[in-house]
């Protein structure tokens, strides 16, 4: 049982993590994938409820709730784009709009670097931002 729940948890989180970022970046109307995640999530919870097998019920239950969470994460990811904490995609009209209206939004991926052990100073942060303009 533990192995099934571990595998379901790890892969659902991994897949959710990667696909939320990718889908939010590419899709213009966020409500479509959000509604899809919501419906499939509810469907999996129903399947979990009706499944006679404990292993299947566990896997459906875990993957279902992570999908429900992913529906919410799509909008949280949009907030990260607005704050510049995740890179915007100028080819996506929704992101282009965010880039125009939110001064902190950027195409720069701040997290694409290794930790160096000391915080960045305001000057260093400014230099990094200006380097991408």
């Amino acid at each position: 049982m533990g192995l099934a729940s571990a595998a379901a948890t790890f892969f659902a989180v991994w897949l959710g993590h990667v696909s939320v970022r990718k889908i939010e970046r590419e899709v213009e109307g966020l409500w479509i994938p959000a509604l899809l995640a919501l419906s499939v999530g509810i469907g999996l919870e129903l399947a979990s409820l009706l499944s006679p097998s404990l292993v299947l019920s566990t896997v459906f239950g875990i993957v279902g709730v992570t999908l429900l969470w992913d529906a919410l994460e799509l909008y949280r990811q949009q907030k990260r784009i607005e704050h510049g904490h995740a890179p915007a995609n100028p080819q996506n009209p929704r992101h282009a709009n965010i880039l125009a209206r939110h001064p902190k939004a950027t195409t720069l991926d701040w997290l694409d670097r290794d930790p160096r052990g000391v915080p960045f100073t305001a000057d260093e942060l400014r230099a990094i931002t200006e380097g991408t303009k």
């Binding site: 729940s5 379901a8 948890t9 989180v13 409820l49 404990l54 239950g61 709730v65 670097r113």
Partner: protein, 110 residues
């Protein structure tokens, strides 16, 4: 009606939510270089879940192990977030044993 999966699912959601907290706090006080130990602990929890006969306990220990495994791959990015000023940064982190060897390894990030 089989409520087993849904209750395990909801509990797993809380375990994952706990992951947000310990990754942030853990990185702040201990630093991301603990990642091999966290990963090892995750593997140990997953393996030990196989030997637990109570279905609920086994499923939750497995989910907790998987969450530790996942968290170990998040620590590096969290360290960068701290350095960028998105989260409070703390000097004088408590470094793990064998830190010199761990520094030579590439920290995972999925």
């Amino acid at each position: 009606m089989n409520w087993f999966g849904i209750s395990v699912g909801v509990a797993t959601l809380f375990i994952i939510g706990l992951g947000f907290i310990w990754v942030i706090r853990g990185e702040r006080y201990f630093g991301f270089l603990w990642w091999p130990y966290v990963m090892g602990a995750g593997v140990l929890f997953v393996i030990s879940s196989i030997f637990i006969s109570n279905h609920y306990v086994s499923a939750l220990v497995g989910a907790w192990g998987a969450s530790l495994l996942w968290g170990s791959t998040e620590l590096k990015e969290q360290a960068v977030r701290g350095e960028l000023g998105w989260y409070p940064f703390r000097y004088g982190k408590i470094l793990p044993p064998l830190v010199k060897i761990i520094r030579k390894w590439k920290a995972p990030s999925l």
